[in-house]
Amino acid sequence: MPVDRLATGCQPLGFWDGMGLWEQWGINFFPRLGDTMCRAMGGATPGGIPDWLIFAILGLAGAFAVVNVAMLGVPYVILLERKLLGRFQHRVGPNRVGFFGLLQPMADGIKLMTKEDITPRVADKLVFSLAPLVFVVPVLLMFAPLPWAPHAVLADLDVGILYIVAVTSAAEIGVFMGGWSSNNKFSLFGAMRVVALVVSYEIPLVLAIVGVVMLTGSLNLAAIVEGQRFVPNLLWQPLGFIVFMIAVSAELNRAPFDLLEADSELVSGFHTEYSGMKWGVIQIGEYAAIIGFSGIIATLFLSGWKGPAPMPGYLWFVLKMGMIISGFIWVRATIPRLRVDQIMNLGWKFLLPLALINIFVTAGEILAYPDGLPVWLIPVNFAFAAIVVAVAARLLGIQGQPRQVVPAPPVFETMASS
């Protein structure tokens, strides 16, 4: 295994020689900085500081950097969402605090810090306080195996994608802890709904990944990016991409699947009773999950840090993440919220069969062309995906309950006739 990662010991001598500047930046934002630090601490010489200490210090720096990318990304994703939603609704969005509203997140943070933190008298106080922590920490852990650039990985896990699936579903424990401990009817309803929703969409999410894993033959996220040699996986896996996108927006509890905080039914779901910084921490967790999941989508389907033009890898990666986040915001501005029964139907009767079909079509294609898939399969795949989605949607539409037409109350009729 190579040692040239963000957070492991000294680089071998001459590692940076003969590389162009772009290539160096692709590996590390500050080329040679970690290496210089490592050597200054005596890591390369015998009798210097032991390797584990260097690893601990560099690992701490790497973890700090990754957590801060999430933490600094969140306020600006929130600002981007407010700006874009404003534009979608013919408003300007926040533009008062700072130029173009750029200081709005800072103002919001200060406001949340100085708000009173109320805990209901009947709440289970320990669980109530722990819930934001349990909700946020798994979301931050999601960033650990993401490859930002070649070799720029905090933890190069061989089970990368399985680890991500495991860690993200752990966050729902925090949601349920919050909903249960608030001792509020709306919170409990919201928490029950979110568990039912996440449990239903977890399966299509995991099954959509299987197709990508089959194409690559590895669960390691960096290997999955390396495996997309000429074209991104999206072109081989259009059906898997559709299933994955829908399942992810349900997993994130974003519109049109935002049942847990359906404002018009449950006040705001599981965080009805939260206020002050605890509410802020929950909000950070939700938006950090959006950033993390868009990073995963970029890695799995859009060939991560690779791109057609010579640009540092992390720039490509952040660009793709931004596109996916804007896509989520667009969907939120466009599609109205689904009912509970519609959501369950969509998950179990639409996405799950599609994910299974996708697995076997991919397996058949690989079996027929073991030495690499031919290019003409790309339009065939897209046509197949369109046909299967259309047929499945039609079947689901027939199977669903008929729309009820409510007759207008008589008072309107008299008003109209007079």
């Binding site: 209901p120 449990v199 697995i359 058949g364």
Partner: protein, 124 residues
């Protein structure tokens, strides 16, 4: 050194400690900065502005339960699928693994169709 396995999971451990420290810092910051004005009315559970009616522990409908069972079945299936998908390109295996997995998924798919026909998947 203890190998890459140790390194990578230590990095995960360090990241989780960093996350806990970060959240606790936010809590301590709000503890130091936020005002405290307790009152009995503020502490009652929120119920759209009126006094809470009845017990907060409302009963949950049975319909959540079949979904939990189905989730267990299909999540275990997904766990079985991952090792299969990883070795699918391996030259040491024949195409028989494709048909074996087809049979396995076929049985589970039949189970899904059965529960569909039985109406377990309908939310009511």
């Amino acid at each position: 050194m203890h190998g890459d396995y140790f390194n990578d999971y230590t990095a995960v451990l360090i990241a989780s400690v960093a996350g806990v420290v970060l959240v606790l810092t936010a809590f301590v910051g709000s503890l130091l900065l936020s005002p405290r004005a307790r009152s009995a009315l503020k502490d009652i559970p929120y119920e759209c502005g009126i006094e809470p009616v009845g017990d907060q522990w409302s009963q949950m409908h049975f319909r959540y339960y079949p979904f939990a069972i189905l989730f267990l079945i299909f999540d275990v299936e997904a766990v079985f699928l991952f090792p299969w998908a990883v070795v699918f390109l391996s030259p040491f295996l024949t195409s028989a693994i494709f048909y074996e997995m087809l049979i396995f998924i076929g049985i589970l798919g039949f189970g899904l169709l059965y529960s569909w026909k039985k109406g377990v998947l309908d939310w009511r």
